[in-house]
Symmetry: D2
């Protein structure tokens, strides 16, 4: 794949948007490699993702906004542009369960995830060796109910230092304050070990076992201030039976969690997700 | 397959149960074709299903209970025996959505379901032609809030007349009274068009759409007096995306509902389900 | 959904295609409801599907071609246009297994398939009652090795009479001659009861059983002159185990076949499929 | 779970086997925790797996065979017993692709796989750091067409030295000689990156891409002297589309391969697999 520029657009649905956008790109010598769009007829909203070849495109990060302004204004667009000249910086938070962390590290090393991982932060020391084996800085931020505010300040200090663009909660079992969440809108990705909206909150595999479900699931979503209620990015399920103990569900669930979280990370890293009405539009 | 006798057992878990049961069967010249068992270590319960060749078995429906009594008493068993000399009689309740009804009729005609279908009852006339095309008696029992008690009496009258062994709610959109439910324990099978315990109650596909889930599901379960809370028999899921409207979810869901309900019916008809602690043990 | 016009395009990949097409549509007051495109970088090919609101579009079936000609020529396009003023006419061929036929009839009656079904043709009389119950003309064309040429002539006569746009082989177990196949390119849809390219030819469930696979599948594809080798439209799989007999595989497979064939029919009916290099591009 | 003894039996199908076996176990104070059995009516074969509590069982590894002999002879049984007093020793072979290796190491370290891993052998040096990070001995056995016989001797020397019970080919891209294969019957587990029997041999993802399949798969199987033809243990599939390049298929396939191979290893380690007629009976 050549280097690409990615443009994400959300605006009220009306006629002529695609023509206006593609004409603009053509007039600036852009070559569209991928275009995907979606009209939400119920809410009258329009979403579009355009990926174009950076080579030969007649605009630069400096000149794009001014040239684009008339179209954005005319269609009342919310838009964002990823020029792709550098990879996104992904910080990882983790507690004691390390399967998602080691999976992300492995995918990253194998070239599957187009990101930098400047830091792994945990409230425990357990995950240190995994991070370090991958050559990633590791920091411990212990959290107790009494020290939560300071711990969060230290955490955000670290995220700022390392220039994190987004944060992945790879089985991080601490609640984040609404203030912190508000500062990272659609930039905190969590993996919930249950098929949301079923089994919110703690011990979802235990809940699933007690309810006697015949399938379990995992859900990756953006974090909002309401627990386990943010926009869902990806989900998957796997069959279970009466023979499965809670431990079996935990084991089966780990395989789901790893795949579902990695998928969400890849989609986010490639600028494939738009959020509206607490739901995601995923252009994959 | 030869004609078979099926024995279902639930009792406190202890050693020697399998040996005692299989020795008993061998002593009466029974040939075991299939034996499945499960120990719930958490609750200290034991479950077993034995299917044996009816030909050559030395006991009859008349003599079995007396011979079996000592073992049942010794292990404090709850047990049931299906001699299989006649097929179970399955009544179907349906409202306006007929996809599950026509699916069951088709499977029945193709020999996939080992049951009789003596009657289809609906609170509307719509389903009549489907039932009659399959040669099944069709009756309408209209229900309004005011007439619910009489309607239920009429319904149970019909179920009694036709000798129903169990009842399938193939998208029957009326609530059944706790009294009726209590008279048919583990003999009322419902299909819920959502992935329980998510999206209980009405309009589950609408709920799923509004939540923005990336998979939808369907759930077959025994009916209990608490809505959508009975023991789950079978579930399945299918992926969705932001492109799916509520109508698309309904369409995709119909395919799930048909398969999941048919599976539950087959498992029940073949005496493969035991219930304990509001959960099912499914020997398939 | 409003009434729509659908434009399918395949051409050598180059820059400016999307801009040219969307500008053309905008200049003729077309409102694009859905646009999907794909570049095959390996073969240097470009594929696009545009669906636009028919209401208000400034061109007609009579005037479109002339206006469109310059763009089609400039980009060396193969293209087709479905004006959508009438539903496609789908003929169904079937032999003795009727599960796919009755499934298609049911979906059609429930409004899931946007087609007309003018005729069902079979080499046996068995399927007649299903077709007639749905109000569809039914004809028998018996086939023996000796009479194949005449039988095919009679078949094509019937297809011509009833104005069939495409033909679905819903478990039709007769080979079609290369000549007939050549006259219906990408207009003959078959359901193969195996996971192609495994288990080509006859008795695929028996082949799967003998090989001891742990999943079985079904495949819908366009028919080409090489048996079971045409462009694949849709596939699905389901788990199996050593407990499954050949009959169990047949039963499980029927559920796959019905869903996979119905999906292919819907995709074709909605003009969502392009074919290139014996593969399909499916815009769903 | 308590420590267990596992008994695997295959014999001609006849009546009384289960009763005889369970009576024998009861007479020696064995407590059956799990019993699973299967009759292959087509071939007249009977298969059974019994898992019993080692504590309190009245026989020992030394005394079992003599006591068991009469039953084994009477029913012409092939049988094996895993006393479970030590964990199976699993050697791993790997070439340059390390995703399966690192996945097995991770599962092993997390306690998911009940085995020892005494050695990892590769024909390249690449995998060394992964093995060593998990504290596993790593050896390189380079292979060229000219040195294959010596390389295999060196390999078997290593397997012997470390007391390997079975060998996992975790993306080992060298053919093994028929002689070596014959010395490890049902003890060589391979992961094939295709949905067997489709796409045998080299570059299965390329083959899948060229054929245009809409799902890809992975297959774990025992190695026999015929390439990619041994008894299948586990398979899984995932959907693909025209948008997937060969590289995308490789990426998606890696997730399948890891899960499918790990499942096969777990089933083998827990003595849950019997082989007959080049097919597996998997008691899970």
């Amino acid at each position: 794949m050549p280097p690409t520029v990615r443009l994400l657009i959300a605006c009220p649905d009306t006629r002529g948007i695609i023509a206006a956008v593609t004409r603009f790109i053509a007039e600036h010598d852009g070559n569209i490699l991928d275009l995907d769009q979606h009209s939400d007829l119920e809410h009258g909203e329009f979403f579009m993702r355009v990926e174009l070849d950076r080579r030969g495109f007649g605009l630069s990060p400096q000149t794009f906004a001014a040239a684009w302004e008339p179209i954005a204004t005319r269609f009342r667009m919310q838009w964002s542009l990823a020029w792709g000249e550098r990879r996104k910086r992904m910080a990882i938070l983790v507690s004691r369960q390390t399967h998602c962390l080691s999976d992300l590290c492995w995918r990253w090393q194998s070239g599957e995830l187009d990101v930098e991982i400047p830091i792994v932060v945990s409230n425990h020391a357990d995950a240190g060796s995994i991070a370090r084996q991958s050559g990633i800085r590791f920091e411990v931020c212990p959290v107790t109910p009494a020290t939560r505010p300071e711990a969060e300040r230290a955490l955000e200090q670290l995220l700022g230092e390392c220039g994190a663009d987004f944060v992945v909660l790879a089985r991080y079992m601490q609640l984040l304050s609404p203030e912190l969440v508000a500062r990272w809108p659609h930039r905190l990705i969590n993996i919930h070990h249950g098929f949301l909206p079923a089994f919110k909150g703690g011990a979802p595999y235990r809940q699933a076992y007690d309810r006697g479900v015949k399938m379990i699931g995992a859900t990756s979503h953006y974090v909002t201030e309401i627990l386990d209620d943010g926009p869902i990015i990806s989900q998957d399920t796997t069959p279970t039976s009466h023979r499965d103990t809670v431990d079996d569900l935990v084991r089966k669930g780990r395989d789901l969690e790893r795949v579902v979280l990695a998928r969400a990370v890849r989609l986010h890293a490639e600028d494939r997700i738009l959020v509206s009405n607490n739901k995601t539009v995923v252009f994959d």
